[in-house]
Amino acid sequence: MTWKIQRKKCLRCGGCVGVCPVDALILTENGVVVDEEKCIDCGNCEKVCPVGAISVEGDDE
């Protein structure tokens, strides 16, 4: 899966980074970046995001 992070929604709180079991997310000044190589598609980040900024590419929203 390819994950899409909507920068305009993201508040850069890092909640998603904290629940990533494989440290595939990095909080940068421009928002959160996903390391697709490490990502295991568990979806923790999508669920925990307080503002719904993370979704699977292609899904509507």
Partner: protein, 388 residues
């Protein structure tokens, strides 16, 4: 070589830094954000008892509103009032408070640098790689404290086994609102209900001058977002119609999953990074500052002995669990029971319980009273037993 590098200059890190610096240790704190205390991820409440216990003589410019109790609303709007008759806590301005905490540490002799992100640890956790405004350098130290909050990867990098289980975190979202009609400017408002805030609650924490933090925490594994639930709550309440949003905050709140082992070679974790948060109300200020004191005591002894091995630092686990962990684990059990409750159960309890009972529960005491009440509810036998 430094004695201690502390990752994160929040309240936990600054609390530890002050204690260690006062004992003459060479301490440096790195904060990745460009401003300490900003943006806040917090409802900003702190009980007066915590200030007394922790020896915090909080200056007036950090204190926004004295609080004398709380109004707790069941799903059917039935209200339980906690009225202490006098000031029992304050709503703070974290932006000011965190800098004051940092100032205390600095006055004691600690060195602090904002906009300095710790990227990695040196071998055996004997120092860090830190990026200060784009420039990377190695800083060697005898040991490292991980106090970088929930999102800090340093704790796991150091070798502490941390859970990333979704169920033990809450997803949090908050607006700071102005021109808001408050029910009582000296009381916190808390709203419970499975449709309103699944497994969590909506809070309104007055900050003086018709200002308040209006926020929500919900279980981390819900389908809808925290923002969705908070916006719905606000839309359905007329009194918010004239209020304005002056700040938006979000974050993840650890609500359990305490770590049996918070240490590694030359390393220990504290604060939100070690899940040291009260699992029922999600407050982490008091726990983090307290943990800073415990951690610094242990580290101070280890440094004096010249032995900061994991084995030596494990005393921290024992001390924290004895002082805080056992109580907090009881509170975690309560949180587990509460998430099984239906709206009807919550309504029932609001008829049977007094404000003082609720205060006891948040501290992990008096839980058998709740257990006995739940025994009378259909299907709640198993949950009730957890509390008896």
């Amino acid at each position: 070589m430094k004695d201690v590098v502390i990752v994160g200059a929040g309240p936990a890190g600054c609390s530890a830094a002050k204690e260690l610096a006062e004992e003459g240790f060479d301490v440096v704190l790195y904060e990745k954000r460009q401003e300490i205390g900003v943006p806040k991820r917090c409802g900003e409440g702190l009980p007066s008892a915590a200030m007394d216990d922790l020896g915090l003589d909080v200056p007036d410019n950090c204190k926004m509103q004295p609080i004398d109790g709380a109004l707790v609303f069941a799903p059917n709007k039935n209200k339980v009032t906690i009225d202490s008759g006098g000031t029992v806590g304050w709503t703070l301005e974290r932006k000011m408070f965190d800098k004051w905490m940092a100032g205390r540490a600095a006055k004691a002799g600690a060195k602090i640098r904002a906009k300095a992100e710790v990227i990695d640890l040196l071998p055996e956790n004997k120092g860090v790689v830190v990026e200060v405004e784009g420039e990377r350098k190695k800083v060697e130290s005898r040991m490292v404290f991980g106090a970088g909050g929930v999102e800090s990867p340093i704790v796991r990098k150091a070798g502490v086994k941390d859970s990333s289980e979704l169920h033990v975190v809450d997803s949090g979202y908050q607006y700071e609102m102005v021109n808001l009609e408050l029910k009582d400017e000296k009381k916190l408002e808390l709203y419970l209900g499975n449709d309103l805030a699944p497994r969590g609650y909506v809070w309104v924490f007055p900050k003086g001058d018709n200002k308040a933090n209006v926020g929500i925490g919900i279980a981390g594994d819900m389908d809808e977002t925290a923002k969705y639930y908070l916006d719905k709550f606000i839309e359905n309440n007329d009194r918010f119609s004239r209020a304005s949003i002056v700040e938006v905050n979000s974050g993840m709140i650890p609500v359990g999953g305490f770590l049996d082992d918070m240490t590694a070679e030359n390393f220990l974790a504290l604060g939100d990074a070690a899940h040291q948060v009260n699992p029922i109300h999600g407050g982490g200020l008091r726990e983090g500052i307290r943990a800073g004191k415990i951690a610094s005591k242990v580290a101070s002894r280890a440094l004096q002995k010249g032995d900061t091995s994991k084995k030596e630092l494990e005393v921290y686990n024992h001390m924290w669990w004895e002082e805080r962990g056992e109580d907090l684990r009881r509170v975690e059990k309560l949180r587990e029971v509460l998430e099984d409750l239906s709206n009807n159960d919550l309504n029932y309890l609001s008829e049977k319980l007094e404000g003082e009972d609720l205060l006891d529960f948040t501290g992990g005491s008096g839980l058998s009273k709740l257990g006995k009440l739940l025994l009378k509810r259909p299907g709640m036998m198993k949950s009730a037993r957890k509390l008896l």
